[in-house]
Symmetry: C2
Subunit: 230 residues, 2 copies
DNA sequence: TGTAAAATATGTTAAAAAACATACAAATTT
DNA sequence: AAATTTGTATGTTTTTTAACATATTTTACA
């Protein structure tokens, strides 16, 4: 009854498109589907991965607990995308936690099955290598921007990042994800107060407009300029 | 005449140990050896990778230019280790630069040859996946510590990181790498002034002792405490 | 070997961001 | 519907860190 899993594995756009029918059937037989409510934890820092988790529906934040329990969001996942594969492939326990920020559906592909297919399928290995290498580039980039940019620059970058990740509503300006001010702060390496304050400033400068958790980008160029300036 | 390359490929401890003799010979035939003086640039942000670079001798820093040209060191390489493989496998141009901080020898394995061997050798793919996944974990960790820890915590962490990476001299306390105060600052996300000042403070607290660029760790537990506290 | 340049050191000031305080609104629970 | 909790908003204070200034030492090299 795990239709969601089947859909992902059969998806022509997914990394599994390089597999033959037999391999796909094997994956389907060894995967399970799980449903999560908004704010549900999918896994926690320290947990042991037991498979490749694929986000089929919903949105998920990946975060680490830092100094004094302060949360830093290191990644935002969208369908169809993988979660927690870093720990799985590094053969480590999770170094970050995953939490659904919307009702979500995940499909977990059993570890041994995945590795057995990986053994014979060069294309799949290569696409995993590419994914990890891209994400490492992204992470290194973020290390620099989060440490070097000032508050306005960091917030502007986060808003552009959210836009790039989740896209815009039909109005071509509302960012298609609804985060709490606290999550925006944890994504941008600042306190909640400063996230709220800086969002208000951006709104007063007509760069964005705010309506609860809805954020409309009014001046893309302006936002990019602030992000680049630091 | 590229003996250095041959040594690396034949090394029982390297990732190439999983290759058969034929594959090793192919790699040797398609690799070149290059010598760098201290402060020589090996590659620059934006350059196109043309092979897998292996550091055979010496020490190399990998850094990114941030806001206003401010440098952030994202990795320190030691022999025998790979450099610039992220960009190679992501099929991107380099997102960081590499500079020798000591006289160094590198061995470059030609790209096409490497990929052809990768195609047939599952073990090699897997070890690359593991490396990338580990480094991604490290990078995410650093994002959090560099943004959340205070100056003392960041510097303490950097000193411990340098110790873990390059080890200690025979005296069991001198860190086996000699960096400028500027490099230490660029590794720890602080200004040179603050690196100098904080090093002096640590020295006055008898946590470390300084002799030019030689740094002796006198109180390991103390340093760890400062690092963990933030 | 003298001189310029680079690196190190340290004090002072200015700016940035966190911490704190408080108020209010909205959502949830009872 | 009242009470409580949670999230948002904004002003003030304090801390942290960068920026600046200047001196001294070391290194490079002509």
């Amino acid at each position: 009854m795990n239709v969601e899993c089947h859909n992902i594995i059969d998806n022509q756009m997914s990394v599994f498109s390089v597999l033959n029918q037999e391999e796909k059937e094997l994956l389907k037989k060894n995967s399970t589907c799980t449903y999560y409510k908004k704010n549900d934890i999918i896994y926690k820092e320290g947990d042991k991965p037991n498979g490749l988790i694929c986000l089929s529906k919903g949105k998920v934040k990946i975060f680490k607990e830092g100094v004094g329990g302060r949360e830093q969001i290191v990644r935002m996942a969208k369908p169809v995308g993988f979660i927690g594969y870093r720990a799985l492939f590094a053969e480590q326990n999770y170094l970050a936690s995953a939490e659904a920020i919307e009702d979500s559906v995940i499909c977990t592909i059993e570890k041994e099955t995945l590795f057995s297919i990986l053994k014979t399928n060069y294309e799949l290995s290569l696409s995993i290598i590419r994914s990890l290498a891209s994400e490492l580039g992204f992470s290194n980039n973020r290390t620099v921007t989060l440490t070097q940019k000032h508050i306005r620059g960091r917030l502007a970058e986060s808003l552009l990042f959210l836009k790039d990740t989740y896209g815009l509503e039909a109005d071509e300006s509302t960012i298609k994800v609804y985060l709490s001010r606290e999550d925006i702060a944890n994504l941008s390496n600042m306190t909640t107060s400063n996230a709220i304050r800086t969002l208000s400033t951006f709104a007063s400068e007509k760069i964005i407009s705010l309506d609860g958790r809805k954020i409309k980008i009014l001046d893309f160029k302006g936002l990019e300029r602030i992000s680049e300036l630091g």
